[in-house]
Symmetry: C2
Amino acid sequence: MNDTSGRRLLRINEVAAETGLTTRTIRYYEEMGLLEPAARSEGDYRLYDESDLERLQFIRGLRDDAGFSLAQIRQLLEDEAVRERNRERFRTTGDPDERRALILDARERVDRQIELLEAKAARLAAMIEEARARGRHLDGHLAELDGGPAPHPGRLAGATPAGTGE
Amino acid sequence: MNDTSGRRLLRINEVAAETGLTTRTIRYYEEMGLLEPAARSEGDYRLYDESDLERLQFIRGLRDDAGFSLAQIRQLLEDEAVRERNRERFRTTGDPDERRALILDARERVDRQIELLEAKAARLAAMIEEARARGRHLDGHLAELDGGPAPHPGRLAGATPAGTGE
DNA sequence: CCTGACCTTCACGTGAACGTCAAGGTTGTG
DNA sequence: CACAACCTTGACGTTCACGTGAAGGTCAGG
């Protein structure tokens, strides 16, 4: 047992194993202000809890899947932190106007996040569709070869067979 | 006129202006094997045509939108080039077996591209959905404030599915 | 043919994102 | 308490993707 509570705290090497990051990378992210370990041991070992794990997985996703820089990721996480603080403020205030303002602020932040992600996703989708179109075209030719020189593709292929100048 | 044909050829600075890249970046991409200028002037100036422009825009998309490294981009473009050459070979050969082989090769390349892109897109989509879920939760709170403490989500989110963690 | 704006090829500099020792301290198991 | 296995903080090295001169050649207008 590591804690007065029942939480399992992990050392950096275990965290590295679970997240697929290196210990150096984890320390570097701390250095860059992306996270702080939940605790330190008596001898100053970094100790991480479950939420740290999730945070690192999230960071990894932003880095690998969305291709964000660490600077952008820090910005996103800071936005997240502001939202968190606003949530607290939201709970403790009774003023409906302030509550509305806090939620609207949070909405704006997430709107920006989603906009960023969706712009990337849209471009990716366009590229995928382009590639798929080429694939369908190839399938048409394969069918031609397999089933004899049929003038039109029997399968559902792209709209114009000779259009893309293959 | 720059060419024996009617094509307008651009110098590197004009290309930079149109693509939003710097001249250094364009030269660097050439150095990395991502493109070759369509021609050189008598005094060895780089001269680019319309397809070079498109290629650079495409590269920029892969870099900025999909977050690919230049190495990955080069791989994608090389695959594309191989496909192009195979297409030529396809047109000039009469051998059905060779034709089949060429198409199958092309299909493999396209499949690999699609796999790469889809993996990225899927994870991006997951992140977007996560953000949207937080947003819907927030919209619920907004509706509560606007319409009194109603326990059920009465609002339609509209075209912009925004919102954030509560 | 002169000149200023643009271009060429080196070549070194830079910031981001880590990798990789080095020198020493901490943990926990026998 | 001995000791291997893990951790700490530096601090320097590396790769990628360019930025930034330097030294000189080219192009178009006057």
